[in-house]
């Protein structure tokens, strides 16, 4: 709970002003805390008099020292290793070396032969000391409940202190269930990780409130410390085939010996990849994005041409997705996807905060808009003021000349 020391309070009212939830009101010179308080601690941090504090009594979860090592869930789906897995091994390697512990990769598949064998080798070449490969026919398709159960069994057996997974459709689907079952803290969508000097606790930084605020989260009293991490934020190590590592193959049935251990109440009837409109814009190096300024669905044809020249993909603002000009998987922003490409070309996008939340971590942002006051120009590295129907064909012609 939030504690006020009236003797220290100087009645400045900063707590009232700083509360993001409007929970503090000054009455008779002292703050009164209302029901909307979430104990976020902002007022405590801002109180220059040190009159506010948070009292926390935490339940201890056994001996934390029993937990050691860094584990990375490596996503292998539809016969492909998600690139975020290698990025996480790169970051996991750094953390493991700082802690002086091992880096283990968790890999699931139907059987250990050929392809999966190669994937395991690749994980070692990218930094893993050990790869736990869990195999069962039931693991050939992704089902939240089953993946959760297998992961929990692995974590209970090997007790890593840190668990990382990609903040992908799959990672974000089942990792939260793992965390709850493990009684572990989980931080979603981290964009940077570090270790606290004093106690080695994992410092997990993520954007909140649509990217308007960054928050660093710690899980002091529970293990493992779990994070999902945004794709394209961490750097993978270069492949080094001289690296040595161990591959341990486990039958899922051995991990989950109960008779119904591998049963799922979910059945995969069909798996459709690359359906019309399905596109993984999060993996693209270049995104050419269209907004209302395109004026109609046909406007995307020019964007497609530019995207093709730059080996990129097309994305869009919410307005044009809602207008039906382009399918939902292309949407960037608060109710769409969060992307971090090398180049983001925003065409006819005004730059509403909801859109910016999804693309502000792009390395280079280029804005093309006929309204020179459009807020997208505030975050752009390069800006062109002009009509898209005029600008795009000229730009395309120029890029073609250089290709």
């Amino acid at each position: 709970m939030l504690i006020l020391d009236k003797d220290l309070c100087i009645s400045c009212g900063v707590c009232e002003e700083s509360c993001p939830f409007g929970a503090v009101t000054m009455q008779d010179g002292y703050p009164v805390i209302g029901d909307t308080c979430t104990l976020c601690g902002t007022c405590v941090e801002n109180c220059s008099a040190g009159a506010l504090s948070l009292s926390v009594e935490k339940a201890e979860q056994g001996d934390l020292a029993e937990w050691s090592g860094v584990a990375v869930y490596c996503e292998y789906y539809r016969g492909e290793l998600n690139p975020v897995s290698l990025e996480l091994l790169g970051e996991g390697r750094r953390l493991a070396d700082m802690r002086g512990v091992e880096l283990n990769a968790l890999l699931f598949g139907s059987r250990f032969s050929g392809e999966l064998d190669e994937v395991a080798e690749k994980l070692i070449a990218h930094g893993a000391d050990r790869v736990y490969v869990v195999v069962a026919d039931a693991l050939s398709t992704f089902r939240e409940d089953l993946y959760c159960r297998v992961t929990v069994a692995l974590l209970r057996r090997y007790k890593p202190e840190i668990v990382l997974a990609g903040a992908t459709a799959i990672g974000r689907a089942f990792i939260p269930a793992v965390a709850v079952t493990m009684h572990a803290g989980l931080t979603a969508d981290c964009t940077s990780l570090d270790l606290r000097e004093s106690d080695g606790a994992l410092l997990q930084t993520r954007p909140a409130f649509g990217g308007n605020i960054m928050a660093t989260i710690v899980c002091e009293n529970t293990r493992p410390q779990m994070s999902t991490v945004r794709p394209r934020v961490m750097k993978a190590l270069d492949r080094d085939d001289t690296r040595a590592g161990e591959v341990i193959v486990l039958e899922a049935g051995e991990l989950l010996p109960e008779e119904d251990g591998l049963d799922s109440r979910v059945e995969v009837l069909e798996s459709v990849a690359g359906a019309s409109g399905a596109v993984n814009i999060q993996e693209a190096d270049v995104l050419v994005a269209g907004g209302r300024g395109l004026e109609n669905a046909e406007g995307f044809e020019l964007l497609a041409e530019l995207a093709k020249l730059l080996d990129g993909k097309i994305s869009a603002s919410r307005a044009v997705v809602d207008a039906g000009w382009i399918p939902y998987p292309h949407q960037v922003g608060q109710t769409g996807k969060t992307v971090a490409p090398k180049i983001y070309i925003a065409c006819g996008i005004s730059g509403a905060v909801q859109h910016v939340a999804g693309m502000q971590s792009a390395e280079t942002i280029i804005a093309i808009n006929r309204d020179e006051n459009a807020s997208i120009f505030n975050i752009a590295d390069y800006g062109i003021v002009g009509n898209l129907s005029e600008v795009l064909p000229m730009l395309i012609a120029r890029v073609k000349e250089l290709s």
Partner: protein, 266 residues
């Protein structure tokens, strides 16, 4: 079919900013809205009830008493019952403690055949509470559902949106789904709905009535803690391109090709 929809009142996040100089959050006129994804979850629940020709849709929220307004909106949009689970002891809950609290609330309501949630709330963006509840309830769950293809009293066939396509899944009930926004187009409240919303009695639960353990709720029950809050790094200043539009585009084209290839253009 008994359907519980979990909804959350969120600040309109577009209005929340951190002043990089003072490191304080500004909240001038921040309004509270029903989390957009949850609106789609509620709409889907109402549609399923209509499709099945019966059943009950309960909208459940955990939050401060101020969330009552949102619950009335939920009735206007088709919910039959609305429940507020509220207690000062819940303050500071992270997703672990929130999923614990909601699970206990759902059990206190006698459970459900189907639980629907939005994919995530736009203030926290974690997408963790839905899967967390399912794990606690021991029921199957599917995230990011973009379509309910078939429904009967014992199972659903749904489409789960994936990063590069979708999967078609059959799920046995009871189950929990989280939905994305292209699942439906939420209706606007009807006049009749608005009248009903005015009169509806909001059911209330608290830590005691849901039999929550003190060390599992609120800040003490939350494994994660916020260590620091700060403003995101400002982007660099815009590089001005010079000359006529044509000249600017010529410079931009060179830059684009260089960045895309990762090497200089001769």
């Amino acid at each position: 079919m008994k359907i519980i929809v979990c909804i959350k009142q969120v600040p309109d996040v577009t209005e929340v900013h951190l002043d990089p100089e003072t490191n304080t959050m500004t909240r001038e006129g921040v309004s509270a809205i029903m989390n957009p994804y949850d609106q789609h979850a509620l709409e889907e629940a109402v549609r399923l009830r209509e499709k099945l020709g019966g059943g009950e849709v309960t909208a459940l929220t955990m939050g401060p008493p101020q969330a009552e307004g949102m619950l009335r909106d939920a009735v206007a949009l088709g919910a039959d019952r609305v429940v507020l689970v509220s207690d000062r002891a819940f303050a500071g809950s992270d997703t672990w403690a929130t999923s614990y609290t909601l699970e206990h609330a759902i059990n206190a309501l006698g459970g459900a055949d189907l639980i629907l949630c939005g994919k995530q709330a736009i203030d926290g963006d974690t997408a963790q509470v839905g899967p967390g509840m399912a794990a606690r309830l021991g029921i199957p769950f599917v995230t990011c559902v973009q379509k309910v293809r078939e429904v009967d009293e014992s199972r659903l066939v749904v489409e789960r949106m994936m990063d590069d396509g979708y999967d078609v899944l059959a799920v046995k009930l009871p189950a929990l789904l989280t939905v994305v926004k292209n699942i439906n187009e939420p209706r606007v409240p009807s006049l009749k709905g608005k009248m009903k919303a005015k009169k509806v009695e909001i059911e209330r639960l608290n830590a005691e009535t849901i039999a929550a353990k003190a060390d599992c709720i609120g800040l003490p029950g939350s494994p994660t803690q916020v260590a620091k809050v700060f403003a995101p790094e400002a982007r660099g200043k815009r590089i001005e391109l010079q000359g006529t539009l044509e000249e600017q585009l010529a410079q931009l084209a060179v830059k684009l090709v260089e960045l895309a290839r990762g090497q200089e253009v001769r």
